[in-house]
Symmetry: C2
C-alpha cells in the first residue's frame, strides 16, 4: 500500500479509501491509484515469473558505438520494445574491437542475462563457429551469416540500389561513393556498394573506381575528409552516395566549405534516415532501414528463444529465422526533392 501510494503520488489513506470502495474519492484519483496497482502488480508478476524460471529478465544488447545516431536511435527502439515485454536491457559497447566482441560471446561477463542481441563489426565469416553458443542469441547486421542463429538485417543491397537509382533518375551519372571498405568482402559497406554497382549496371553506366572512396569509421569527420580528398583529386562527380547519414552530414559540410551547391552541382543521399536528416541544410535524402521493425523483431525472436531454452533439445528447437527489414527511400532537398 505504501508503494502504491508513492507511485500514485497520494497518501496511504487515499489508497485505502480506493481499495475499500469508499465513495468520496475523485474519479481522477481513483484512476491514478488503480494505474499504480496495475503497474506494481505487473512488475511483481514479471519478477516472480522470472524467479520461478531461473531467469533474470535482463537481456544484453551489444552494439559497436552508442554515440553514432543510428545505434542511439536503435537502442532507444530496442529498450522501448523490451520494456513493453517486461525486459530490461544491458548495453555493451564493443567499439568494433575483436577482443570486446569475443568477450560479449564468451567472456566471463556474459552472465546474468537471459539472452543476447548482438551486432558484430569485428568478427566475421571466419568466426562462424564462435557464434554456435548455448544461450539465446539473435544476430544483427551483415557480418555473419550461416551461423545457425536467428538474424535480423537491413536490406542493404536493395536499399543502396534504390538510393543510387534515385540519383540516376535525377540525371546524375558521376556518382561517388563515400565510406567503402574494399578489404572487407562482407558487411554493410560491401552490400551497400554492391547495390550501388547493381544500379549503375542496370542503367548502363560504367563504374569509375576513382569515384569509390574508402573510409573505415562511418563518422561525420570521415565523410568531410573523404569529400575534401575527392575534390582535391580533381575527379569529376555530380552526386555522392554516402554509405550512412553521419558520413553524409560530413559530405554536406565539406561541399559547402568548397562552395559547391547541393543539389544544383552535386546531389547527396545518405543511408539510415536519422532524425537530423530532416533538419540539416539542405535536408538530407536517405534510406530509412526499418529501424523499429528490426528492434521489435529482434526482441520477439529472442523472447521465443528464451522461452524454448535451455530445456529444449537442439533437434526440437525452431529452425533459425532470417528477417530482412522493409526499407523505404526518403527523398529530400539534397537530391532535388522539394
Amino acid at each position: 500500500m505504501h508503494d502504491v501510494a508513492r507511485l500514485a503520488g497520494v497518501s496511504a489513506k487515499t489508497v485505502s479509501n480506493v481499495i475499500n470502495g469508499y465513495p468520496h474519492v475523485r474519479e481522477a484519483t481513483r484512476a491514478k491509484v488503480q494505474l499504480a496497482i496495475d503497474k506494481l502488480g505487473y512488475e511483481l508478476n514479471v519478477t516472480a515469473r522470472n524467479l520461478r524460471l531461473g531467469r533474470t529478465g535482463l537481456i544484453t544488447l551489444a552494439l559497436p558505438e552508442l554515440k553514432l545516431p543510428y545505434f542511439a536511435e536503435f537502442a532507444d527502439e530496442a529498450i522501448r520494445a523490451a520494456e513493453a515485454r517486461g525486459l530490461r536491457v544491458l548495453i555493451e559497447q564493443t567499439n568494433a574491437d575483436r577482443a570486446r566482441e569475443l568477450a560479449v560471446l564468451h567472456g566471463v561477463r556474459r552472465v546474468m542475462t537471459d539472452g543476447l542481441i548482438f551486432s558484430p563489426l569485428a568478427l566475421g565469416p571466419d568466426d562462424i563457429r564462435l557464434f554456435q553458443v548455448d544461450f539465446p542469441l539473435v544476430l544483427l547486421g551483415e557480418r555473419v551469416f550461416g551461423s545457425g542463429n536467428d538474424h535480423v538485417a537491413v536490406d542493404n543491397v536493395a536499399g543502396a540500389r534504390a538510393a543510387t537509382q534515385h540519383l540516376i533518375e535525377g540525371g546524375r551519372r558521376r556518382i561517388a561513393v563515400v565510406g567503402s571498405h574494399p578489404d572487407e568482402p562482407v558487411g554493410a559497406p560491401a552490400l551497400r556498394e554492391r547495390g550501388y554497382r547493381e544500379a549503375l549496371a542496370g542503367a548502363g553506366i560504367a563504374v569509375d573506381e576513382a569515384l569509390i572512396r574508402p573510409g573505415q569509421a562511418w563518422h561525420m569527420s570521415v565523410g568531410a575528409q573523404l569529400t575534401d580528398e575527392l575534390i582535391a583529386s580533381g575527379v569529376a562527380f555530380d552526386a555522392v552516395f554516402a554509405l550512412n547519414d553521419a558520413l553524409a552530414l560530413g559530405v554536406l559540410h565539406s561541399l559547402h566549405q568548397h562552395r559547391i551547391k547541393v543539389p544544383a552541382q552535386v546531389a547527396v543521399i545518405g543511408f539510415d534516415d536519422v532524425e537530423e536528416s530532416a533538419y540539416v541544410r539542405p535536408t538530407l535524402s536517405s534510406v530509412s532501414p526499418g529501424r523499429e521493425q528490426i528492434a521489435t523483431t529482434a526482441i520477439d525472436l529472442l523472447l521465443q528463444r528464451i522461452a524454448e531454452s535451455p530445456g529444449t533439445p537442439a533437434g526440437e528447437r525452431a529452425p533459425a529465422r532470417r528477417v530482412l527489414a522493409e526499407f523505404s527511400l526518403v527523398p529530400r532537398q539534397s537530391s532535388g526533392a522539394r
Copy 2:
C-alpha cells in the same frame, strides 16, 4: 587455454608454445597471446572480487531519452568510464515519466545492480524524501538538490550567461530564448533562463518577455516550431539562444526556410556541443558542458559509495559531494565566428 586461444585468434598449440617459452614464436603472436592472458585474468579477477563481496559488477544508468544526442553521447562516455573500471552498465530509459522514474528508485526492478546514476526529469524538489535510499546513488541534472546524495551537474547558470554575453558582445540586443519551461522553478531550463537574464541585466538590457518562448520537449521539431511561431508573432529579434543543441538545429532549419540569414540577420547559439554542431550549416555555436568530466566523476563517486556500502554506518560515510563540471564556450559560424 582454449579461451585464451579464442581471444587471441591463434591455436591452443600456439598458446601452449608461448606459455612454455618455446622460442620459435613470432613476437607479434607472443604479444597477442600475452594480451589475451592479461585480459582474461583481469576479467576473472573482477568477477571473483564481485562474487566475494556479494556484488554484481553492474550499475544502472537511468536517463530520460537515449536518442537525444546529448544523452547518447553521455551514455557513451559513461559506458567507457565504467568499463575502464570493470563495471557494466544497465540503461533504463525513463522518458521523463514520473512512474518510470519512481520505479528506477523503488520498483522491484531495482535489483541486481550495485548502484545507480540517475538523471531525473519528472521527479523534483517535492520528492526529496524519495531519494533517501539505502543503496549507492549519484544524481545528475538540476531537478533535485539537498537530498543528501552525491550530485554531478552542468554549470547551467554560468554556461547560459556566457552564451548570452557572447551574443551581446557580437552586438545583439533582441535575443530570443527557445525552449523555456516557465512552470518549472527548478531544472536546467530555469537555470539556463536565469543565466540569460543575468547576462542581460549585466549589460543593462531590459528583458522582453515576448522573446522568451516556452517549449516542453527539447527536440529539433520543437525548436523549428517555436521559431516559426516567433517569426509569425512579428516580434523583432536579432539572435536566438536555444536552450539545447537539438532545439538549435530546429531553429536553424526554420530560419533557413524563412530565408533569414544566420548570422547576418539572426545569430544562433545552442547548449551541449553535440557532435553535429561542428557539421551543420552554418556550424552551430554552443556551450560544451563538460560531458566527459560529468561521466567519469559520476562513475568515480558511485564507486566510492559502493566501496563503503552497505557495511558503513550512516554517520561514518563520506559527506555528500556536489561537483559542477567546467563548461566552455564554443563559438562557431552561427554567431559570427569564422
